[in-house]
Symmetry: C2
Subunit: 114 residues, 2 copies
Amino acid sequence: MPASKDLIAASATPLVLSILQQGDSYGYEIIQKIREASGGSMDWADGMLYPILHRLEKKEWVESYWGQSDSGRKRKYYKLRRSGRKALKDQRQTWTEIYALLQRLNGGPHVQPS
Amino acid sequence: MPASKDLIAASATPLVLSILQQGDSYGYEIIQKIREASGGSMDWADGMLYPILHRLEKKEWVESYWGQSDSGRKRKYYKLRRSGRKALKDQRQTWTEIYALLQRLNGGPHVQPS
DNA sequence: CCAGAATACCTAGCAGCTCTAGGTAAAGCA
DNA sequence: TGCTTTACCTAGAGCTGCTAGGTATTCTGG
């Protein structure tokens, strides 16, 4: 059972930023990495990712440059910018807070933000 | 600094469901409870909440009935239905999974779903 | 008794987003 | 030669948040 759409949507941005924090990457590879990291439960359509990357670029959280694979196939790499790193940090903080609140409201274990 | 809009949006539904899990409530009170539970960091406009409640009702996750305060002021109470309880459980599960993935991608502590 | 605050509900409509469903093209493989 | 994989892209439908308005009642301070 895949995750609900709302959450997929809201998590897409921080997940992409997290991937890019580990090093420059390109669309096709980002999808693979997300799929691997999630153990296969998240499998994004590429048509969903590219608009997100373009939006992140417009927000100046990432920048792009053209590169090539060994075989000469062109790739558009994305690089995390300083403001993107900041945005990721903020979003992770918010996730932690909301998650803790949700746990608390449901009588779950208390989680304190680090 | 308030949370980013994406996350507010995605978290609104499970938070409302969580409040209702603790007992029937009505719009105005839900906003207060969220504000209190979050220590003031979340302060929803009422115009944002009502459409959410109506949507939850349309999805049949909650049902509503009219009640009165001591002073006779009318209130529209919302009650969590069985399917809403199920939805809350699912969404909490998804939140936990995504949160764990985010932590893992960022080298944070490992979190395992309960 | 009057004004303003608090309580309590509602909707229209814009702006923003996701994500489906298409498309192009090059390289690898059978 | 044709299929699969790699690799990119966009249009537009559909959904949603949330601002900015609105109504009406009760409480409270002066």
